[in-house]
Amino acid sequence: MDRTQLLIGVAVALFSIGLVGVVVRRNVLVMLMCMELMLNGVNLSLITFAQQTATTVGAVVVFLVFVVATVEIALAIPIVLLLVRDKHTLDIGAYSELRG
């Protein structure tokens, strides 16, 4: 296994763990953090491929991911704050009112 395969494997693992974390954990903030983990996994794969093909486009996209992650968290935390102010709990089961 060379370096590329190792790093790609790690990236895939990080992404999967993040997604599964969103599925299995109940705490809202923990779910947010798992989403950040997913983004990190994606970043790693982008950098690996950028290095491999010796282009800069991968790094550019990584930078954009940074920006988006920042913006996302800047808005997600206030939303969580408002939700918690209403329901007085961090359990995501309390926020399931949009039912069919």
Binding site: L19, V20, V22, V23, V24, M31, I92, G93, Y95, S96, E97, L98, R99, G100
Partner: protein, 628 residues
């Protein structure tokens, strides 16, 4: 000129129909309606006379006039063309002549009716369609006239439509006619596909051309006869004519005695070229005719409404005409059409005069002793009754006698049993007609005092017409119609051996007529116990005859009820509710059910949504790596 004959009554219909009714705002008065409504038919009659003279001057070569080319389909074209030969001349004279006098009669009869303008409009439109019928060259034009007179009949039977029974009678007439028309249409289709034309003169020529025809003449003949059955009230489609007496009496006289019901007879006579080659169809026609004549006469024996007696009498006389057609004596049938028009119209209009005099009474059990009070009506009625009974030398004697003779001796289907049944019918005809005369005019008065007080003779517009028609009933037999039509409609050959029987048979028919007269005078001229005893002895027969053999009830049970059942059970409940509505409801339920099932995915649980994303990615990747 032929087109003008047909169009003038149509013009009358349009003028009166728009200006003299609520449609146009009632802008004209009764005088205008009278002038237009009677003047135009009289003008038509004058033109018919002129055309007859033109025909004679031209050596009786048929006049043909093409009015309008309607459609060209493939090789053939459909035209509105008029054809004037001897037969058309006779029929047109009867239609316009008798029609015009009945229009004049209506002036007095319908004087106080609020629908005066509408009445004359309908009468004119009837005349228009009837002229289309008799003058048309092709079966298509005839059929348009055929349906049109049916429409006019419907409108006129239900003229006083505020009474629901009248409207129902009109409906019954129209629907029964349509049943017959199915056969007519099939016959037309058959003729068109075989010959490529519907022109009657061409079809007759094609059948007479000598080679074996491409289609069975009997089949065509039977199909056309089915149409004639409906229009001319033969068994089994006769049920509408007695009910049609709900219309005003001039209508009964014109449409249901003189002209429309003879359209079936005209059709068969016109298509004689087909029927001479169709012995089976002719036999059927003869049997149906004589059977209808006999049964209608038996029913007429016990009827108590003056118009119903005349209605059944009409059915019976039409049966005689078809008997003549069935044995090949086409010209004789047309002769009887002419004489029948004279005396039946006179009888109906006389009945109308009686009803008018009594202020609406139609039941003969409440009449009697009118001879002195309304003498003109009485004498014209008596002459017409003698004519229909067949007393010489009045018109009915000549035509009925010819029919009886040919039913016995014609080589084209004449048989002794036909003569026997026809002679029995003639006996009954004389009997019930004189019964009617006695009960209505003679004997003691059975009217209520109030009605008796108001009895008065009808105005000259009505009695004048009665006189004219009575004179025609008396001398009309001397117009040698069969002789006139011979070059076109040859009379059938007669068995050589039976020639000697001709004079004895004439004597027998006169004796029968006198016997009918004597029996009626005996029973109804004397004290009423004689009739009561007779009725008590044959009570069961009397009941069956009074109920017209329960034919209407039979139809209602055999045809009406199953149809209603099918409509309700099969079409309404099964077809409409279960199938159509069920399909629509089912589709809606399907949508709703699917929605309900799919809504279970929307649980509100973010975990489930995220897991579905995971499953989707995994699934898509596996699928693409398999099929990549």
């Amino acid at each position: 000129m032929l087109t003008l004959i047909v169009v003038l009554p149509l013009l009358g219909f349009l003028l009166n129909g728009v200006l003299a009714t609520r449609l146009g705002g009632n802008v004209v008065g009764n005088r205008f309606v009278t002038v237009v409504g009677c003047g135009l038919p009289i003008a038509s009659f004058a033109l018919v006379v002129a055309s007859c003279m033109a025909l004679a001057a031209g050596g009786y070569v048929p006049l043909v006039e093409v009015a309008y080319r309607w459609a060209e389909i493939g090789d053939g074209s459909f035209e509105i063309a008029f054809y004037f030969d001897r037969l058309a001349a006779v029929m047109a004279l009867v239609v316009t002549g008798v029609g015009s006098v009945i229009h004049v009669y209506s002036i007095g009869y319908m004087k106080d009716d609020p629908g005066y303008g509408r009445f004359f409009a309908y009468l004119n439109v009837f005349l228009f369609f009837m002229l289309l019928l008799v003058l048309g060259r092709s079966l298509l034009v005839l059929f348009v006239g055929w349906e049109g007179v049916g429409l006019a009949s419907y409108l006129l039977i239900g003229f006083w439509f505020d009474d629901l029974a009248n409207a129902r009678a009109g409906k019954k007439a129209f629907i029964t006619n349509r049943v017959g028309d199915a056969g007519f249409l099939l016959g037309m289709f058959l003729l068109y596909t075989t010959f490529g034309t519907l022109d009657m003169d061409r079809i007759n020529a094609a059948f007479g051309a000598g080679a074996a025809p491409a289609v069975s003449a009997s089949l065509v003949g039977l199909l056309l006869f089915i149409g004639a059955t409906g229009k001319s009230a033969q068994i089994p489609l006769h049920v509408w004519l007695p009910d049609a007496m709900a219309g005003p009496t001039p209508v009964s006289a014109l449409i249901h005695a003189a002209t429309m019901v003879t359209a079936g007879v005209y059709l068969v006579a016109r298509m004689a070229g087909v029927y001479v080659h169709a012995p089976e169809a002719s036999a059927v026609i003869a049997v149906v005719g004589v059977t209808t004549a006999f049964f209608a006469a038996t029913i007429a024996l016990v009827q108590t409404d003056i118009k119903k007696v005349l209605a059944y009498s009409t059915i019976s006389q039409l049966g005689f005409m078809f008997l003549a057609l069935g044995v090949g004596a086409y010209a004789v049938a047309i002769f009887h059409v002419v004489t029948h028009a004279f005396f039946k119209a006179c009888l109906f209009l006389g009945a109308g005069s009686v009803i008018h005099a009594l202020g609406g009474e139609q039941d003969v059990r409440r009449m009697g002793g009118l001879a002195k009070k309304i003498p003109l009506t009485f004498w014209t009625f008596a002459v017409a009754t003698a004519a229909i009974a067949g007393l010489p030398p009045l018109a009915g004697f000549f035509s009925k006698d010819e029919i009886l003779w040919y039913s016995f001796a014609s080589t084209r289907g004449g048989a002794p049993w036909l003569w026997i049944v026809a002679a029995a019918t003639a006996l009954m005809t004389a009997f019930y007609m004189f019964r009617l005369l006695w009960l209505t005019f003679l004997g003691r008065s059975r009217m209520s005092a109030e009605v008796e007080h108001h009895v008065h003779e009808s105005p000259w517009s009505m009695t004048g017409v009665l006189v004219v028609l009575a004179v025609l009933s008396a001398v009309g037999g001397f117009i040698a119609v069969p002789h006139f039509l011979e070059p076109q409609l040859a009379l059938p050959a007669v068995h050589e051996s039976l020639h000697a029987a001709e004079t004895p048979l004439v004597v027998v028919s006169v004796v029968l007529a006198l016997a009918g007269l004597a029996a009626a005078a005996f029973l109804f001229g004397g004290p009423s116990e004689r009739v009561e005893r007779l009725r008590a002895r044959f009570a069961g027969v009397h009941r069956v005859l009074s109920a017209k053999y329960f034919v209407d009830e039979l139809y209602a049970r055999l045809i009406g009820r199953p149809l209603v059942w099918i409509s309700d059970r099969v079409f309404l409940r099964l077809g409409d509710r279960a199938l159509l509505d069920g399909t629509l409801h089912g589709m809606a339920a399907l949508g709703r059910g699917t929605g309900r099932v799919l809504a279970r995915i929307q649980t509100g649980s973010l975990h489930l949504y995220a897991w579905l994303v995971l499953a989707g990615i995994a699934g898509a990747l596996i699928w693409s790596s398999r099929h990549g």
